[in-house]
Amino acid sequence: MRITAFLRNIKGDKAIWGVVALLALFSFLPVYSASSNLVYVVGTGTTMGHLVKHGLLLFLGFGIIYGIHRIPTHFFKGLSIIAMPVVLVLLIYTLAQGTTIDGANASRWIRLPLVGFTFQTSNLAAVVLMIYVARYLTKIKDRQISFKESILPLWVPVALVIALILPANFSTAAILFFMVLVLCFLGGYPLKYLFSMVAAGILALTLFVLTAKAAPDLFPNRVDTWISRVESFWDPADTEADYQIEKAKIAIASGGLVGNGAGKSVMKNFLPQSSSDFIYAIIIEEYGLIGGFALLFFYLLLLFRIVVVANSNQTIFGKLLVVGVGLPIVFQALINMAVAVELFPVTGQTLPLISSGGTSIWMTCLAIGIVLSASRNNGLPEKAREEMDESNPLEVLSGQL
């Protein structure tokens, strides 16, 4: 029985598997419902087409989880070092495309050859960067390090990745930076250095904004979008930019306790991005507070399991890795929900595993796969090899494969 054999090969935290499978299965409902809007208004494809595409993305996503979770955890150290330059090249390529939406920089995607799917490079970059940072923190775990010393191996790659994401996608860049800081905090990186990095980050952002403001034509950017979104978030009066958020709140309010029922959302027709950025509002409209809280519960369950996995993994790298790639998933989910309930300014963050966000599903799956890999065997056999020299990633890889 190949299926049972396949199932037997599924390793790692069963709860995470379960939560991820549940979310993925559930995601078909809102995606299918919201796709009617895509078909009717945007005029792309058919509802069945969107459903099949979503199913295909999820299927491949689970393939990624399965494949990744079978890779021994310590491999990721080397992989992150190899992947880092590739990621940087991809980010530069993405940004260099110069795609714009209404004059704002929207170079977030590259088109995958042959398949036709678009691919958001920042998602991959985020995962790779988090692993890279985890690796670095593991490396310095036993030493007292100076700030200067950490600049080149740690902050330069971080700064490069974030700087390349920033012009087109502020929220992803900010969340990634924040996650890096959290990871550094967890990894015992001196707090005083962290604070100076925060200050440096804010300074860099200010410089960027000012440059963009002073010379708007110098390079395409989304500074104006950011400012208006943030302003409309703080502005108590109903601004034109509140359009989306108001629609979302209408959707939430009309959902009530149990919702209008599957597929019966009305606001999906008026909410832009109803199948991705604002899917949480649509879910509440269709499944009510009960559905909304259930979804929240499952993400918190995922958080709990990530903590449990981090707890049980015996290696420092394992712990940091799990936290580094796992927390962003939950964090992103919470941000998405916070946007829908107007707790946070409008961002383009999708709801992991639920939104029909195309390839972002794959990157979530990649992260889940890594977490599962770390949960497989508590890292005990690997602990012995911990002392192994990891400065040459190729050596590590060749030694294992």
């Binding site: 009717y40 923190l137 310095i140 967890l186 009305v266 929240l296 918190l300 707890n311 939950v330």
Partner: protein, 668 residues
């Protein structure tokens, strides 16, 4: 710095706790939106996404008294062409045939349509007008034309349907048929029968809740309508299209002849008060006439001499005068205070009886009768008029009935000369219909009826409401008075000296009263002086069947203005056509006996034909055709001589069939 696993975990718990708090914040905000602002947003959602749509019911039909359609709702189609959606190849290959088909159907040349289509194509016009107001069968044909049959996307066919009210009779009685229109605020303009019976015709609007979906489209919610639309009832009016047609054309001809400003005719059935025809024609600046305003019901004016009937009836009822009493017309001028009452005949009529005064329509005589009889007690005269209901509206369901004016002594405008002037129809005001109602009451032996325009309200074949005659006053005066004035009214036409004698015809009888009222007399400028020519009466003079009034305003004075000349002919024409030339009567008389004969003949033939014959039957007296048919069916050779019925048969009846081969029939 020596990081330990424990260190990491402690910090991790802190971070996880933060995330948990964040999640709680999301949850709280979620509940807040629902509970605190929920109602507000739900209401916004309602406003923006749900809307009650009305479903227009089908308006009922309006029928004439015999069931002919006066007004009905039909669909009209406007055809437009989207020149962009069609692909070039299809356009080029179909534009020729399509243009030819359009040209054949719609009358304009095919080049014209080819031009329109090509121009639309060149200008990327997505909404080019091809044809307007097509009826259903034309629309069905257009839909099947080359290219158009490909539908809206490939063929570029755009069809717009609208429901319009159609009047199969055209301009005839258009104003009386009327319309009902609603402006954007829902205020209605209601005219004529359509307006008056709108409550029946309109039906009940259905309601359907719809939900907005993107692109400004609405989709229905739920299976059923909130309120089912109910189609309007059909209304059968009292209008007789034949009489209406006669009245319309008679009036039109006379208006054109006299270049009058406007005029109206009403024909009413005496016994029932049903209005059989009502025509109102007004003049346009180009001198054409069309159904402009409902003068017959709406326009209250000084009636002039037709009011002498009312004065006379009042005086006779109060027994202040007798028809045989003699009045001195004072050479046609009678001074009362500072004013002079004049007769139309210069020099007056000398000393004449009241009857003669009515026949010749002497103003002075009537002024004297009424003034002298009532000057001590003018209230009595007015009370009498009011008792006859002349100050009251008839209470027609049609909007805009003109108000009658009968002044009471002491009212503003009442003066010492009021009685004298009222006697011959000034200082009072009546609408043509109100005057007619009074004349009809006389014709109907004193019974005053409310004029009626509606007979029945129906839903399909089911009667919803039937309207019977409505008696306003069973007797406005005594039968004696009725008989007296009826005779006088008859004399107006029949008597040589009567003002209406020009209408006299030996073939049929009419009774009525002429009226020639002055209009704009206050200015004293003879150029501005205008006339209102009236003829009111009924026919036949004995046992009246219809009453009729003709009012023509402002005829060209150079052509004529007397009531007998201007309005009288319309009256006569209506009466004559209804009575003397009614083709229906002739037809019925000629057809009926023939049918009877035919049937008996057929029965005989049928009986013979069914019998089984061994012998020659008797065919004498049968029509030649029947006889030949029977005999030939028996296998005989038949020779026919002459036409008509069988007079003689060469082989007598009872002869054995087998011995006969040929028979000769002599017909007469």
């Amino acid at each position: 710095m020596a990081i330990t696993e424990k260190n990491i975990l402690t910090r991790l718990y802190v971070v996880a706790a933060c995330l948990f708090l964040f999640a709680i914040a999301v949850g709280i905000k979620l509940v807040t939106i629902q509970l605190v602002h929920g109602d507000k947003y739900k209401e916004i959602a309602m406003q923006r996404t749900e809307k009650m749509f009305t479903i227009q019911p089908n308006r009922g039909n309006l029928y004439s008294d015999d069931g002919s359609l006066l007004a009905t709702s039909v669909s009209r189609y406007t055809i437009r062409f989207d020149a962009v959606t069609v692909n070039g190849e299809a356009f080029e290959s179909h534009v020729g045939p399509l243009s030819r088909a359009l040209g054949d159907l719609l009358g304009k040349s095919s080049e014209h349509y080819e031009n329109v289509l090509r121009k639309a194509r060149a200008n990327q016009n997505r909404y080019a007008l091809i044809a307007r107001n097509l009826d259903y069968s034309e629309y069905m044909q257009v839909k099947d034309f080359p290219l158009f049959r490909e539908g809206p996307y490939k063929g570029g066919l755009i069809v717009e349907q609208k429901t319009v009210r159609e009047h199969p009779l055209g301009k005839i009685a258009e104003r009386s048929v009327g319309y009902e229109r609603f402006d954007e605020n829902g205020y209605a303009t209601r005219v004529g029968l359509e307006g008056a019976f709108g409550d029946y015709l309109r039906g009940i609007e259905g309601k359907r809740l719809k939900q907005r979906i993107a692109k400004g489209q609405w989709k229905p919610i739920g299976l059923n309508n909130i309120v089912e639309p109910k189609d309007g009832y059909d209304v059968v009016s009292t209008i007789d299209i034949n009489i209406q047609d006669i009245a319309h054309h008679a009036l039109l001809g006379q208006l054109e002849k006299y270049k009058a400003d406007h005029g109206c005719v009403i024909v009413m059935e005496t016994a029932t008060g049903e209005i059989k025809a009502i025509s109102n024609l007004g003049r346009t600046s180009e001198g054409k006439y069309y159904e402009r305003l409902n003068y017959a019901i709406g326009e209250s004016h000084e009636p002039g001499s037709t009011f002498k009937l009312m004065s006379l009836v009042a005086a006779l009822e109060d027994e202040v005068i007798d028809t045989s009493a003699v009045i001195d017309t004072e050479k046609g001028r009678w001074r009362i205070y500072d004013r002079i009452v004049r007769d139309s005949k210069h020099g007056g009529y000398g000393k004449i009886s009241v009857s003669e005064a009515f026949e010749v329509s002497s103003n002075t005589a009537f002024a004297k009768i009424i003034h002298n009889s009532y000057k001590e007690n003018p209230e009595a005269f007015v009370d009498r008029l009011m008792k006859m209901g002349l100050h009251q509206e008839l209470g027609m369901p049609i909007k805009g009935e003109g108000k009658p004016v009968i002044r009471y002594p002491g009212d503003k405008g009442w003066s010492g000369i009021s009685l004298a002037w009222m006697s011959h129809g000034y200082e009072v005001s009546l609408t043509p219909l109100q005057t007619l109602a009074f004349y009809n009451a006389i014709a109907n032996n004193g019974e005053l009826l409310r004029p009626r325009l509606i007979k029945e309200v129906k839903e399909g074949y089911k009667t919803i409401h039937k309207f019977d005659k409505e008696v306003l006053d069973p007797a406005i005066c005594s039968q004696k008075t009725v008989d007296q004035v009826k005779q006088l009214l008859k004399n107006v036409v029949e008597s040589e000296r009567g003002t209406g004698h020009k209408l006299y015809s030996p073939n049929f009888s009419m009774a009525g009263k002429t009226g020639t009222a002055q209009k704009n007399y206050v200015t004293k400028d003879p150029d501005k002086l205008r006339y209102i020519s009236t003829f009111a009466g009924y026919f036949p003079a004995e046992n009246p069947k219809y009453s009729c009034i003709v009012v023509i305003h402002e005829p060209d004075k150079s052509v004529g203005y007397y009531g007998a000349d201007v309005s009288g002919p319309v009256f006569k024409s209506v009466a004559q056509k209804i009575y003397a030339n009614n083709p229906l009567i002739d037809e019925v008389e000629s057809l009926q006996p023939a049918t009877g004969d035919l049937e008996t003949e057929y029965e005989r033939y049928y009986a013979e034909a069914r019998k089984e014959h061994n012998e020659i039957p008797n065919v004498k007296g049968m029509s030649g055709m029947d006889a030949v048919s029977i005999l030939e069916n028996l296998g005989l050779e038949v020779e026919v001589r002459g036409n008509g019925k069988v007079k003689k048969q060469s082989v007598p009846r009872g002869t054995d069939l087998k011995r006969v081969k040929k028979i000769v029939l002599h017909l007469s």
